[in-house]
Structure formats: structure tokens, C-alpha cells
Amino acid sequence: MPAHDGEGAFGARDDLPETGCEESRLAVSRRSLLGVSAGLFSWSMMPSVALAGGGGGDPRLLVVVLRGGMDGLSTVVPHGDDDYRRARGRLAIAPDRLHRIDGLFGLHPELSRFAGMMRAGEAAVLHAVAGPVRNRSHFDCQDNLENGLPGRSDDATGWLNRMLGTLPAGDPVRARGAVHVGKAPLILHGAEPVMGWAPPVFPTAPGVVGDVVCELYDEADPLLGGNLAFGLRTHEIAASAVPSGDLAGLSGLRRGFVGAAGLMRQAEGPRVCVLSVDGWDTHALQGGATGQLADRLRDLDGCLDAYRRLMGAVWRRTVVLVVTEFGRTVRINGTEGSDHGVGTVALLAGGAVRGGRVLGDWPGLRTRDLADGRDLRATTDIRALFKGILADHFDIPRARLDTVVFPGSAAVAPLRGLVRA
């Protein structure tokens, strides 16, 4: 935060004390003495349960939503496609700059750490993928990415929340729950309570004030009351899992990933986490090997690597899924960038991933191969990827995936084999 000189009603900015001080965290809360409803706070009171699920047991999932429409053609470059250079024009990246995957594909130069994960078999790419809604609208396509429905809808629940709801009540993934880092995303909206976490800003309110307010809300506004109590409980868990010292000096984005790792590596912590990254809507001055998109990819690459290191031993049970709402036009536009498109990439990373390859059905870049003569065609429905991961990593039965988690998707076969047993 910026330094301020002078007095003002609140004094100098440096007066702001460290958040989450010992005293406030240890203050006995009347609410926790009284006990709270099992549904919301079951994780704190659960006996240890037998570990279930795939991925070697006790699976973790981090979903990273890249908002704005990431240019898949520059992220995972089809250098071996004869039409690539012609089709992309000034957006094309020279093959010798890429981290080569195989004869057809190479990774953007800034994805050096992700490239290392690929070589270690811990990362994979799915190319030419899109959701079922392909109208190139940020709002519709982001919503569709997150609500997992077959078409446009104003439905306000997310597929990841519905997935949690299908798990048996005693399942550790459901019990440990999900957390969003930063703003609450649609993908986690729904009946299952989820935690929200962000780096602390102000000192924690005294427990006694929180108690009075919670009691007031219980009587006067139970919905807000339940949410507030949940938020307070989340803070207690997070305060020990992510000490503020770990976050000092990091960029906002890096803090998000560090916080996610801090929370997810805890034995008692959430098993599912979602965070969002803005800034992928490169209509102007997109750049190629260097430039705006390259800068974003470098940040993402560094964050994924930091997350991997912080997860430590738990990394081998983790899948990171990086998705975006659509790709971009093959041809450069009038402002040295690209407009909204269709087909793009999804990235997978994690010790639980059976990786080292690019999956998907490459449609080609001749004009007649393109969607509406302008965009990379999508040959895989992204729900197939989601279903495959949920099936292999969390043992969600096909019937549930087809009906509850992704309604109306019976015809979309799960992409299996991406996650280690």
C-alpha cells in the first residue's frame, strides 16, 4: 500500500498493525464453545476418515481460471502445421524460440517451468478445446465454463460446487471443502458452503465484537449470519496455514498461488481451490515471443512453479487445471492483437497427472478448417476434460457426471487416463 505523509484522522499509514495477532486468534470465542451446525463446520470436528478417491488417495484440485480468452495458439504453438506462419502473420512465433514438445507443438518461450513439468511427465495440454457455448462472449463463455451446462443459461451454480454436493457426506473432499482465493467465482457457487480467502488487510476484529454481531445476525438476518460465521471460521484455519510473513513482498497474483498452496497442503485444509487470473483479453498489442501475452505467461509459469514447490509432498496427489473461456482469432486484427475466437488450450499440471503430451484432435489452420473462417475450431468439448479428471481423480461415477455435475452431457464422453491411479 502507498505510504502517506501527514496526519489525517487515522494517523500515519504505518500505524496499521500486523493482522491476525496471537491474541485475537486465541481469544476464546463463545460461538465455538456453543458448537455450530455440523454442515458448515464439519471439517474441524471430523474424526480422521479412511482416505478415499483416486490419485493415490486424498486428491487435491486447483482450478485456475484465466479470464479474457487466452490465445491458445500462442501458448501451445502448432509450429509443425504448414499453415501456421501464414495464418498467424505477425502473431507467429519462430519455432526456434519454443520449448519443443513434439513435431507439431511447442510451448511459448515463457513457459519454461511448465515445459520442465512436461518433460517430467507432470504436465499435459489439451488443444482445440472449447465449451459448448461458442458465441465469443466473455460473459456467456466464462459462465458456461463455470456452470458446466450445455447451453447459455443464467443458472447461478457452478459445476465444482455440484461435484462437491454429489460426494457422500463423510467423504474427506466434501468435508474439507473448497476455497476460492480472491473474488468468489461462479464455478463454486451453489448449495455447498465454500470458503473464501484473501491476504488479510485489516487487523482482525476482537472476538467479543464478532460474537455479538453473529448473535445479532442469527436473529435478524440468518443468511448473512451463517455466512459471517463461516468467514470467521475460515479465517481461523487460514491464519495458521498461511502466515502473513509468507506473503510479504509478493505480487498479488503470486500471493494468491502461495495462499492456495498454504491452504491446500494442510491435512485439515480444503481439497479444492479456485483462483482467477485476469488480463488475457489481448485485443491490442498482444505480442509474440515477447510482449503482453508473454508477460502474462511468464507470471503464470512462475506461479505454477511456486505452487508446486510449496505443495511439497502433496504435489503428487494434486491436479492443477488451467482453463480459459475461449481462444482468439487466428489472424491478427487491426490493433496488433486478436479478437475473440473459439478453440484454445487447457493446461494440466500436477504430480497426479499422466502427462508429457498434447491431447486433442488437431483441426488444422487452412481457412476451410477454421470456425467461421476465422477461429481455431474446437474438436473437444471441455466438459470431456472436466469429467475425465473428476472421474479419475475423485472417483465420481459416470451417471452423476452426466446428470448432476454436468446436466445434459450424457453424449460427452469423459477423457480418461489423464490422472494416475
Partner: protein, 448 residues
Amino acid sequence: MSLRVIGRPTAGLVLSRFGLGPKPGGPARIARDPVGALERELGDPRRALIHDPELPDHAEACALARAGSAAAEAHARVELRARFAQAMRPEVGFLERLVQFWSNHFSICMYKQGLVAATVGQLERDVIRRTVLGRFEDMLLGVYRHPAMLVYLDNDRSVGPGSPLGRRTGATYNENLARELLEIHTVGAAGGQTQADVIAAARVLTGWTVVTPDEAAAGLGAAPGRFVFRADRHEPGSAQVLGRRFPAAGRAQGEAMLRMLARHPATARHLAVKLIRHFITDTPTARDVAAVAAAYRSSGGSLAAVARALLELPSAFADEDRKVVPPYDMMVRWFRAIGAPALTPANDWILVEPLRALYHLPWTNRAPDGFSDLNAAWNGGDSLKLRLDLACYLMDGLAGSISGEPLALARSLFGTRLSAATERAVLARDNRKSALSVLLMAPEFHKR
């Protein structure tokens, strides 16, 4: 013209649901005729204006951008302080609520570029505030002729491929502004438009741009950053958008298209839904939407008429508060209630940092659809905890400057709307700071 409201429009409801929140003694002052207070505001649109000779006019704001993005963002803070100060003034503040609503409808992110940061506040002052009770199409045209919107959505760089510049350089259009014109600003996502309509609208809007510094230096435009229509990059020929054909007419082609979209029945519905969702409920009924949309259409798109229609809905003065107060509005309510000191460059972080953490800092929403109007965006446990922490932190610093007993303050703010539960909660803490913190967290502050 008197409003024909339905239900019990008490002073407390008027202040809370359609105003900026009470100042101490507010309900008592307007109790005799709460609806009259609303009528007076609707009858005097000049009250929406900010009178501050220190704030730049359009030319001055554009010139500010030349000093770089850091200076421009510093200026955006000046504008934010002025906007917040304005919210402290009215007794009720329905006009100010409308200004905030329409500004968010034409949401712009100041981080796009220095020119945007330097002028977004001036756009709100000189376009939104001046047209808040005028015709929607005039607000739309004013916004679309302003550098903040044109640059935010990349139209300054959009070139018709068939234009002289396009043919010379191979430059072409981008769809950004045209898409949001249809999806967000006028007919809405379900307005019936196709990709072909988006492309056609994009072509019509080519040439709507701003003067660059080089052009200004060469005498090719009034001043850097100012709106200019460049015929040499405008796509020639007629265009068809949503079934209407617009013959080639240079800049007038775009103006005609904007007016058509403003008058479109889908726009009437789209705006009605948004207004009701912002002020009354997450789930507007079809009947209420139809009533407000009808007022829009029958009045030729008068924003005064839709404001009145909103107040005359059966649901407008229903007793139950169904909307969560979003963070900016909460800060306005708190500061009005406690008589907080004016914001200065030294202390405005007390507004800015909480709003940044709560994702509601004006002019910073990255996506053009603006800050959400749905409760679910604002009532999460992490946000509520932050509100609680903030309330305690504020009272730690300011309790000493608030006079009187917390319970007396609560009564003077909320009158008959003060619940017994809130009274008991305020009394539950002997410590004055704690009691005031509890008061700031009372549902009366966070629901409307």
C-alpha cells in the same frame, strides 16, 4: 407531478432503499413527507452535478493524461474524493444513487491507459450527471463520444478495412466496443443479435476515435485525447444491424445506429431488469420489468420516467430489505452516519484500501459489465468478515470524534426501522468503540 407510490414509503425506507443512507436525524427531518423528498430531487436534476472549480473540464482532463499513467491515476483519486464528498451532501440522495447506477452501467476500467484514468471521472461528472434524468440515448451518445469509453474498449484503433487508411495499410476493425454496445449497454445478451450484427456495428463505429498527440502537434485535431470522427478510417457503405439498414453517412451513421439501439424494445427490457435488480431485488418479476420497460418506451427513453416508474412499483416500498448493500455504498452509509472527516490525499486510503480489498473500488472493474448487482457477489463470508474487521478498525480510530451514546445515534439514524435485536446488540457492549462497531455491522446498514 406527484409520485403514485404503493405501500408504506416511510422515511427510513426512502433513505435506505433509494437514498444514500441516513445522516443522524435524517428520518425525523423528512418524516412529514418522505415521498416529497424524492419528488424534489426528481424535479431538480441540477442537484446531481458536482460544483467544484478545482476539477478539470474535458479539455483539462484530456491534457492531464499527457503527464503519464501515474499522474492520471492520482487524478482519478481526486475525482473519487470529489464523488465521495458529493455523496455526503444530500439528505436523501436518490439522484446520486442513479448517477452511480448509470456510471456502473457504462462501466470503464481506469487501468486501461492513462487517458482513461485521467478522464473517467470527468465522463461521470459531465456526461452521466448531466443526463441522469434526461434521455438514455443522449447519455449513450455522450459516453460513446468520450475518450474514456472509446479507448477502454479499443475503438480508437479500429479501422474499416475498406476505408482509405484500411486499404493503404491493411488495418482492420476490432469488435470490442461494438460487442459491448449490444450485449451490455443496449439490447443485452439476449437481445437477438448475431455475430453479423456485431461485425456490422463494429464497422459502423470505425472512425470514432480520439486525437493522438502526433496529430494534435500536426494541427490535425483540437487537442490530444479529444473525440474526433476520422472519415479516412471509417468503413464505407451501408450496414445492417438488428434488421435495420443504415445508409452510408459518415459519423451520422453511427449516431443513427446508437439512437436505434437506445430505442429498441430489448433495450427497454434490459435496462428495466438492471434497475430493478440494483434497487429492489435480485429477481425482478416479469410484471415489474414490463412496467418499467413500458415507461421507458412510452417516454422516448426518459431516465426520469423510468426512475419514477421504479418508485411506483408495488415492490418498491415493500417492508422486507432484499438487497445487500455493496461495499462502496456501505462506506458512504457509514461515513454519513458517523459524520466522518473529509477525505484528503493523506487519509483517502481509508476509503481506497477497503474498497480495493472488497472488489468495489469505482472505475476499477476490469470487465465492461461492471460491478455485479447480485447479492451473492457481496455476501460471502470472507467479505463479511472483512466488513467486521473494517468496522472495528474505523471505530478504533474515530470513536472519539463521534458524539453521543451509540444507542441514541442508532435511534437517530434509523427511527422506527431500528430493530429490537440491533438495540440489544448495541447495548451488549459497555465499551464505546465496541458498541459503535456493532452498530456499524447492524443489518440496518447492510441491507436495503
